[in-house]
């Protein structure tokens, strides 16, 4: 009995001394609960839809008000000389309501008043929900109308991903996840191992400058990332049946930049934390969890409460997932993706800079 307690007491003493363990026990569960609780939401709230009113009549404005009144959707204006589906690029709109001319006339005198409802199908979940909401709104509107008015009939079309195949949505998502997790894991392990095993001492003695040392490592793991992407892309094309829509060059450039970004992230973590065990935790948390939850991979960013939404702006995966989805689903090319590529490269540089800041002295830290 006494020996059991001896063991228990020792374990407690060790846990209390181990800051990493304490963080795991106290801080992490709260963080995860908070994030998961708020980010995981598959319901639709506040999705923007674009409205193009070619009738511009009292009836059409009434009709549009019905959508404005909805909690799930909010109306965004869009110039009528531009194609509605262009709003889908950049997620300005997730659906487009197009009211043709003669809408009022059709309501008052016709048998039915058709309107068109285009839904951005690239996010299959959201698309379903948006379409479902629209149908409900229209039905309610029709029910509220008088006996002598014609019912509004919505012709719902799915844009990008007409089959609403969730593969098209989840395939790119998983691709980004893999890229976000494994190359940085390897990079951080290699970097932390140098510190742990003290092989870094020979590096210090050789007076190699920090930037040469880091770049050598980052290049190695960038290549690993690029190499990893190739079989993944092949899988996307064969198993998931995706193919490039439009110009694939933004995607290819983004992939190289993203490989650099995550490699830098991994090297930075390994440099800051010369312990392989701890480095794994940080990469898993930062690389995997953040990207998984907050980059719009599975759970739409719009669903994250605004108070936390700003975090996703700092998640590098968010920018890459946009480019990847665009390449396979929308194909809008450089105009909408160039900024995101720049952001990815920029974040990679920040990670590199932080790593350099830690290693700059190339000396034992004491």
């Amino acid at each position: 009995m006494r020996r059991i307690f001896a063991q228990t007491k020792k374990e407690f003493t060790q846990i209390l001394r181990d800051r990493l363990a304490l963080a795991l026990v106290l801080v992490l569960p709260l963080l995860i609960l908070l994030l998961l609780g708020s980010a995981i939401s598959l319901t639709v709230t506040e999705l923007p839809i674009v409205v193009q009113d070619f009738d511009d009549s009292t009836a059409s404005r009434n009709f549009i008000d019905a959508f404005r009144a909805s909690n799930a959707l909010y109306v965004v204006s869009w110039p009528s000389n531009r194609k509605p589906e262009e709003s889908f690029n950049g997620n300005r709109g997730r659906a487009a309501l197009i009211i043709p001319a003669h809408f009022e006339r059709n309501i008052l005198r016709g048998s039915s008043a058709p309107v068109q409802f285009l839904v951005d199908g690239s996010d299959a979940n959201t698309a379903n929900l948006v379409a479902g909401n629209a149908i409900r709104i229209i039905r309610a509107y029709n029910a509220g109308g008088g006996a002598d008015t014609a019912p509004v009939k919505a012709e719902i079309r799915l844009w990008y991903n007409p089959g609403l195949s969730s593969d098209k949505y989840s395939g790119p998502g998983v691709f980004v996840l893999a890229m976000s997790m494994f190359p940085p894991l390897l990079a951080s392990l290699a970097m932390a191992k140098e510190g742990e095993k003290k092989t870094i001492l020979q590096v210090y003695v050789s007076n190699i400058p920090a930037q040469q040392y880091l770049l050598g490592k980052i290049i190695a793991f960038t290549l690993v990332g690029i190499a990893e992407s190739i079989p993944l892309i092949i899988l996307l094309r064969t198993y998931f049946g995706l193919s490039f829509v439009g110009d694939p060059s933004p995607f290819l450039v983004a992939t190289v930049l993203y490989a650099f970004c995550v490699a830098s992230f991994g090297v930075m973590v390994g440099a800051l934390i010369p312990s392989r065990v701890a480095a794994i935790q940080v990469v898993a948390l930062g690389g995997f969890l953040l990207v998984f939850l907050l980059s719009g991979l599975i759970f739409p960013i719009d669903n994250i409460p605004p108070e936390l939404r700003w975090i996703s702006d700092f998640v590098w995966g968010k920018y890459y997932i946009y480019v990847v989805r665009d390449a396979f689903l929308q194909g809008s090319g450089w105009p909408s993706t160039w900024l995101r590529n720049v952001v990815i490269a920029f974040m990679g540089s920040i990670f590199y800079f932080l790593a350099w800041g830690t290693m700059r002295r190339m000396q034992v830290k004491a």
Partner: protein, 659 residues
């Protein structure tokens, strides 16, 4: 045995140039509140081999890291060939205490990587790499993964990598710790050759016999340098001669003489060294008479005397004693002695074998240790000692063979048996993140030490470790040698009847090592069966019986005297004016295992009788203009025997891995 009056004149080791290669002035290093280096100043001339001698925690590693330019000093300056250490890195080669190269790269790949890192031209990397690999006998292993090399070979590889950039200064931080005596000698032979070529070498080492092979030496203790000078100067500074005393009841003689020493102005110090006592005396002849009389009146018999110069170890131990570093010598508080078990077998093994996959680590080892006996298991790293110990104490299941432990045969791992066993391993014994007191409490709890006894055991451990009042210090912050002492205390708190000690004194200073052995001997007197491994072969002399392991087999067994007497031939001890050249020359004429350097002495084993052997050797040396300053027959030490045994095994092809 002849007693020669010696004139040890300066033994020339290729006189170094006067130019200062390394200058250290007032170096301080603090880690938080701990002061590791407290104002060190030294100066090393170009082409010199300079030794920094001191135990764990003395500040050697911190000093070396600052010298290598990989750590900032808290205060003071370090200048290497005229530049601050940090800027002189391109001219510095650095060997760390633990292997700091890549185990998953091959020998060649490691060399290539370091060469590229140091910006050595490509063709030069290959050429220099090959040259140094040949010099150190590693050229056959170019494609082998570094992780698969033995400890001694890894250090040689590290040396090759450090040399590839042709540095002007070589910093070696305890390069031979834990390496077997044969490999140590080979390593130092290599260093001598490099120094002869003009390389400046700074070495930190706890082995005082290695210190004898340096041009100059500094004794460092607790962050300060206490003495600097050539080995000869340091030895002479004692102002005494060494009187070797040999007799059967040595422990008692030691106690008696140590007691009388304070009253006795003749005897400066009494030190145990293997199977003899070293007495530092001012007047050898008078001292001989005096001591002989004292021993006779105590009825301990009459001793064998031999007069010689003091060794560096004598100097260091005397210095430490003078500094008041005497280790708490309070006897171990024993409540449950096992004297009634004497004579019975405590640890028994018959034909123990262990195979890991296709590799046989231990082949048919049979050992018997009785209660009250201290058994020493010796062998090079990789010979299978640790695997054998693990099997013997039940941590590893043998592939074949029978075991008997503390009276139990079959279930050697039952809790009842484990209650009687104590185990102290060099690599681990304590939890680094617990305080000393917490560690001791934990082990006391786990071993079921009665509450009433814990306090006195704890106090004894702290006193033995010299850490009274520091029980709340975190164990991880202790230097290695200190951790060992606490670990010993933790291992014996429950007064086990069977004790396994795996290299217990590695990294411990010479004074504390002697204290360790006092405890070990005391525990044996109380009836425990003790199995020890060690690389300090003079410690092995204190064992009742020894076993030598080579490549998984037990190749020699017996008491120290038996083993030494089985040696064929005579051991001749020479002092020459060019020891390294003499050794190289003789190795060409004779079999390699017959020639070795011990500090500044040359040991040659020849089969002819003593005089003929001395004559022939002197002639051979004279042929190359090497003068013999003195020659006599020496006694075989265990280290001589060890070297012979291992070399012979290599010749017979038993050792496959070593070059």
């Amino acid at each position: 045995m002849t007693s020669a009056a010696l004139e040890t004149t300066a033994v020339s080791l290729q006189e170094p140039h006067a130019q200062s290669a390394v200058r250290v002035d007032g170096l301080w290093k603090r880690y938080g509140t701990t002061e590791a280096v407290r104002g060190i100043s030294l100066s090393v001339s170009s082409g010199e081999i300079f030794g920094l001698i001191g135990p764990d925690g003395a500040g050697k590693t911190s000093t070396f890291q600052i010298l290598a330019g990989v750590m900032e000093a808290s205060a003071g300056t370090v200048v290497v060939f005229g530049k601050p250490a940090r800027e002189a890195r391109s001219q510095t080669g650095y060997l760390t205490q633990t292997f700091s190269l890549y185990e998953d790269l091959s020998v060649r790949e490691n060399i290539r990587y370091i060469g590229d890192l140091r910006r050595v031209p490509r063709e030069e990397i290959a050429e220099r790499g090959r040259r140094y690999l040949e010099m150190f006998d590693l050229d056959r292993f170019e494609d082998r993964l570094a992780g698969r090399l033995s400890g001694g070979m890894k250090q040689k590889l590290a040396l090759v990598c450090a040399l590839v950039s042709e540095p002007r200064v070589l910093l070696l931080d305890e390069p031979t710790t834990g390496v077997d005596p044969v490999s140590r000698r080979e390593f130092w032979d290599a260093l001598s050759h490099l120094s002869a070529d003009g390389l400046t070498i700074l070495v930190a080492t706890p082995y005082l016999d290695e210190a004898e092979r340096c041009h100059r030496v500094a004794l460092i203790h607790q962050g300060q340098i206490h003495q600097t000078g050539s080995p000869a100067e340091l030895r002479a500074s004692l102002g005494a001669k060494r009187l070797e005393l040999r007799m059967p009841r040595l422990a008692e003689a030691e106690t008696l003489l140590a007691k009388n020493a304070s009253a006795n102005r003749e005897v400066v110090d009494v030190q145990r060294f293997g199977d003899r006592l070293d007495l530092l005396v001012r007047n050898p002849e008078e001292a001989e008479d005096l001591i002989a009389r004292q021993l006779k009146s105590a009825q301990l018999g009459s001793p064998d005397f031999h007069i010689d110069e003091p060794t560096l170890e004598n100097t260091f131990v005397a210095r430490l004693r003078g500094l008041g570093s005497e280790v708490g010598s309070a006897g171990f508080p024993s409540r449950h002695p096992h004297t009634d078990l004497r004579g019975q077998v405590g640890i028994g093994a018959k034909s123990l074998t262990k195979q890991f996959g296709g590799f046989t680590a231990v082949k048919g080892v049979s050992v018997q240790v009785r209660y009250g006996e201290v058994y020493g298991l010796l062998g090079a790293n990789g010979a299978g000692k640790t695997t054998t110990i693990k099997m013997l104490c039940g941590l590893l299941a043998p592939t074949a063979g029978e075991m008997e432990l503390a009276g139990e045969r079959g279930s050697v791992r039952s809790p009842k048996v484990r209650q009687h066993i104590g185990y102290m391993s060099q690599k681990f014994s304590l939890y680094d993140d617990l305080s000393i007191r917490e560690n001791l409490d934990f082990f006391a709890g786990v071993y079921g030490v009665p509450e009433e006894e814990r306090e006195e055991k704890r106090r004894w451990t702290l006193s033995f470790s010299g850490l009274e009042g520091k029980e709340s210090q975190i164990t991880g912050s202790l230097p290695g040698g200190w951790k060992q002492r606490v670990a010993l205390g933790a291992a014996i708190m429950h007064e086990p009847s069977v004790l396994f000690l795996d290299e217990p004194t590695s990294g411990v200073d010479p004074l504390a090592r002697r204290a360790f052995w006092k405890v070990i001997n005391r525990l044996a007197d109380l009836g425990s069966a003790i199995l020890v491994t060690t690389h300090y072969l003079e410690e092995a002399e204190q064992c009742n019986r020894l076993g030598f392991m080579v490549a998984g087999e037990l190749v020699a067994e017996g008491t120290p005297s038996e083993i030494k007497s089985r040696q064929r031939g005579h051991l001749l001890e020479f002092i020459v004016d060019q020891p390294q050249r003499a050794a190289d020359l003789l190795k060409k004429h004779l079999e390699r295992w017959r020639v070795s350097l011990f500090g500044d002495r040359l040991h040659v084993i020849r089969d002819d009788d003593v005089d003929a052997g001395i004559r022939r050797t002197t002639q051979e040396l004279a042929g190359e203009n090497i003068r013999v300053l003195s020659a006599r027959e020496g006694r075989f030490s265990l280290e001589d025997v060890f070297i012979t045994v291992v070399e012979k095994a290599r010749q017979q092809g038993k050792v496959a891995t070593e070059g």
